[in-house]
């Protein structure tokens, strides 16, 4: 099954729209808690309880071992965050049966969107990551990649500069290395690629959306890692 794109309402029905998009790809096993601002659910792609929170200024992804009301319990891990509060003007969501990805954008400030992802790599590692495009504020908030299967932190390995071939940017699998040892995450003899998202050889200040793709603004940052110099692309049909 190919990935599908959903435009998520910024106001009122944000969580409901997210639930609809997740349900369409059978990504919700149990809807544990749902309000207008919080969704906690279990999923066939996750060993954890996943919490998505929304507010007028941001969207957040966490996971934990259990839940109580609107909160997670046990070991709770925050995947993303933001430093400067800016109103969200658009929410894009791409889902397939093995991942979901949400990208937000603002009109008032180009460096304030968010990217969150929950899914797997092609060597079947359950991962979640967040990225944030504020070059001056990224170190004050959480944006990480967690390899949930191995309980490790990872950083992306991407191209360091933009380029094209005949005007068209090139793409490669979004691959990862261990934050501590630097060991590349591998699928057999090859680097393990992230399902549903790619590294694309462009640098753009705003989200670019086409008929069957969406590219998050670039550069973006992850806490303790710094700049990810080329962009992240999500394909859908």
């Amino acid at each position: 099954m190919a990935a599908s794109y959903s435009s998520i309402n910024v106001f009122d029905t944000t969580i409901a729209d997210i639930v609809t998009a997740l349900t369409a790809k059978s990504l919700i096993t149990v809807n544990c808690y749902q309000s207008t601002t919080v969704l906690i659910f279990t999923s066939p792609i996750s060993s954890k309880y996943i919490r998505i929170g929304v507010s007028p200024s941001g969207i957040e992804l966490k996971y934990g071992d259990g839940y109580s009301g609107s909160n997670l319990t046990g070991t709770v891990v925050s995947i993303n965050g933001w430093y400067v509060t800016r109103p969200i003007s658009g929410i894009h969501m791409v889902c397939d049966t093995n991942f979901f990805c949400i990208l937000t954008e603002t009109t008032s400030f180009s460096a304030a969107g968010q990217l969150i992802y929950y899914g797997i790599t092609d060597n079947n590692k359950e991962i979640a990551f967040g990225m944030y495009p504020d070059g001056s504020g990224y170190s004050y908030c959480t944006n990480v990649c967690k390899n949930i299967t191995d309980n490790t932190t990872m950083y992306p390995v991407v191209w360091d500069t933009s380029f094209n071939d005949g005007g068209k940017p090139m793409t490669q699998g979004l691959i990862w290395r261990d934050a501590s040892s630097g060991q590349l995450l591998k699928n057999g003899a090859n680097p393990a690629a992230t399902i549903g998202v790619k590294n694309v050889s462009i640098r753009n200040n705003y989200i670019m959306k086409g008929e069957n793709y969406i590219i998050f603004q670039s550069p973006v940052y992850m806490t303790s890692f710094g700049m990810i110099p080329t962009a992240i692309k999500v394909d859908f049909s």
Partner: protein, 368 residues
């Protein structure tokens, strides 16, 4: 067969280049202007006690001299300018070649370094036509430059179809005092491991000292020294890398495209470090790993690829990407220049090109 050396003079550099050099147009102890068999461009190397600044120039237009007259004495005279030997015309005893003349290389010789012509079998006034290069050292463009930091070592690699000169910079620390606790202490800076000097218990090496590798170990990533079999105050001499190192590469890609690449460990403001496609005379830039990664502790490497600076078009060899011969992009970020002296050399990261000023966060790996 590729060679690695540590040239101690400009003459050493020219000597190492060997068969690459097709013509030397100018040379003194600090400057050499030459062409190579690698491409159709002209190069200038400026040498300052081991530091190397490299230039290129696309064309050198000769100036034509016609009818320069000399009165011969003993069959020898000196031309006003230094002729380009391959293009020198002949000499004749009547102006405008109306009189007797001798064909070059039959009756006389020209020293194109001194301009002295010998064995002219003529008498009286001799006229000559020849070409010379009026501006030997001017109008060159820099592609790698050095800084005022302290040079540690000059590295030179000459392979089958490329060469590179790497100037490594380091700072010396003398008599750094540490009080030992449990046989372990941490140096203030991260030493260059292979060159670290010894430690001793009396300042100025007057007391007992231990030779590196016998009694202790140094972690050159952390600067931690362990297993010092001493007590009280220990003194250390060592060197640590600085960011100033620069490199210049002259070579080509898989497609045969001629390129040059220069870089510096300092942010390139104030100096010039460039990457250029000499075949098409356009500025280009490398595409590198955007982060560090290893596989079972081995550094990942991939062919160094390039893009057009203006259009960002990736350079191609047919349907493949056009890889640089002799240099690889690698997923490592050592802050020092490091070589095994026989097959590879890492250039420090971060490093910079002047054209974009952005930090290149991973090392280049020269392999020969």
């Amino acid at each position: 067969m590729a060679t690695y050396s540590n040239p101690a003079s400009l003459a050493d550099i020219i000597s190492s280049l060997g068969v690459f050099v097709s013509t030397i147009y100018y040379q003194n102890t600090t400057d050499v202007v030459f062409s190579t068999t690698l491409n159709d461009k002209y190069f200038r190397i400026n040498y300052s006690t081991g530091k190397v600044r490299m230039y290129f120039k696309e064309t050198m237009t000769p100036t034509q001299i016609t009818n320069e007259s000399r009165t011969i004495s003993s069959g020898t005279f000196t031309l006003v300018n230094k002729p380009i030997v391959p293009n020198s015309d002949d000499f004749y005893s009547g102006s405008g070649k109306t009189g007797t003349h001798w064909v070059r290389d039959v009756n006389y010789t020209i020293n194109n370094t001194t301009g002295v012509v010998t064995n002219i079998n003529m008498s009286g006034t001799v006229y000559c036509d020849y070409q010379y290069l009026a501006s030997l050292t001017t109008d060159f463009k820099v592609f790698t430059d050095y800084t005022s930091d302290t040079l540690y070592k000059t590295h030179m690699i000459v392979a089958a179809d490329w060469f590179a000169i790497i100037c490594e910079y380091a700072t010396s620390v003398a008599n750094e005092a540490k009080t030992i606790s449990g046989g372990t202490f941490t140096l203030t800076n991260k030493p260059i491991k292979r060159e670290t000097d010894d430690f001793w218990s009396g300042s100025g090496k007057t007391g007992t000292h231990w030779v590196r590798g016998v009694n202790y170990t140094i972690n050159n990533t952390t600067g931690v020294v362990t297993n010092i079999n001493m007590s009280g105050t220990v003194y250390a001499n060592y060197i640590y890398p600085t960011a100033a190192s620069n490199f210049g590469y002259v070579g080509n890609c898989d497609s045969g495209r001629d390129i040059i690449l220069g870089g510096n460990g300092y942010s390139s403001i104030g100096t010039v470090h460039r990457c250029r496609d000499l075949t098409n005379n356009v500025e280009i830039e490398p595409v590198l790993f955007g982060g560090i990664a290893y596989d079972s502790n081995y550094v990942l490497t991939e062919t160094l690829i390039l893009k057009n600076k203006s259009s960002s078009q990736i350079l191609k060899n047919g349907s493949d990407l056009d890889g640089v011969i002799g240099i690889k992009s690698c997923s490592h970020a050592t802050t020092e220049v490091y070589t095994d002296g026989s097959s590879y050399l890492f250039f420090q990261a971060p490093w910079y090109l002047s054209s974009d000023g952005l930090a290149k966060t991973t090392n280049l790996l020269f392999q020969w």
